[in-house]
Symmetry: C2
Subunit: 125 residues, 2 copies
DNA sequence: CCCCTTTTTGACAATCATTTTCATTTTCTC
DNA sequence: GAGAAAATGAAAATGATTGTCAAAAAGGGG
């Protein structure tokens, strides 16, 4: 399909951490692309709708995206300084979330889990 | 201290679910208060800074607050429809988060965990 | 290729939660 | 009560995100 969406996907795939729409737009423009900000937003929307990229919110509410290796359900360990992320899994957490939801009579239970810290790299400086 | 902050704290304490600053402002005005929106924001900021209220982000990035019973570290099971929340604990999750952070060389590890679903009440309608 | 329909794009304006400003009011201290 | 310090709120500013709409690109017969 759209060549622009592909451009955005690739820009994101080249990143190890989470990036905002504004970040990606700046990167792409700096790289010579004539892409528009609106298009970056639309591409990220489409990519996250289709589950190709993960999205989370920073403390100040900004949406940040990441093209993860795994398509399967997983969580992230994110560096507070450089935003580098590691994909992590926690079967125990999955079970706990489902169980606690059921125990309180909730249905259609989902969860969000993110772990933050300072990565070894950033800890040096 | 501030009388206004106390007003906001009480308004929030009367709620079972998470409310946004705009929600609380509307509630208070509807109740006859002459409080300003800025003050509601400032009160919520102060209350969350001091750990008296919990804050989380909705899917669209809006900050919502809750005056929980427990001052201790805990998480929430939140209804997707009415936003009613139940305070939950998960020792296994606490350990898992700390362990996975350490295993990858991260320091100062924290985490965010929220469980969502439809409460029994809302499931009926 | 050419014409026409459909989709994509991007500049610009519009939203909307949140933050800043700043002058006024209230509270505190002496 | 007088003056300094903190709190308040109306209005303007900010900044990410979304909506609008006309121009540009892509597709598909003929
Ligand atoms: Zn780092
Ligand atoms: Zn999970
Ligand atoms: Zn409910
Ligand atoms: Zn926890």
């Amino acid at each position: 399909m759209s060549t622009r969406r592909e451009t955005v996907r690739q820009a994101l795939t080249g990143c190890t951490g989470f990036r905002s729409a504004q970040d990606l737009y700046a990167d792409l423009r700096a790289g010579g692309s004539k892409i528009g900000l609106t298009t970056v937003y639309r591409a990220l929307q489409a990519l996250s709708d289709s589950g190709e990229v993960d999205v989370l919110r920073t403390d100040d509410g900004e949406a940040v995206y990441r093209a993860c290796d795994s398509e399967a359900h997983h969580h992230h360990l994110v560096c507070r300084k450089c935003s580098t992320a590691v994909e992590i899994e926690g079967p125990a957490v999955e079970e706990w979330a489902a169980e606690v939801g059921a125990r309180h009579g909730f249905t259609g239970v989902t969860h969000t889990v993110e772990v933050f810290g300072t990565c070894a790299e950033c800890a040096r400086s």
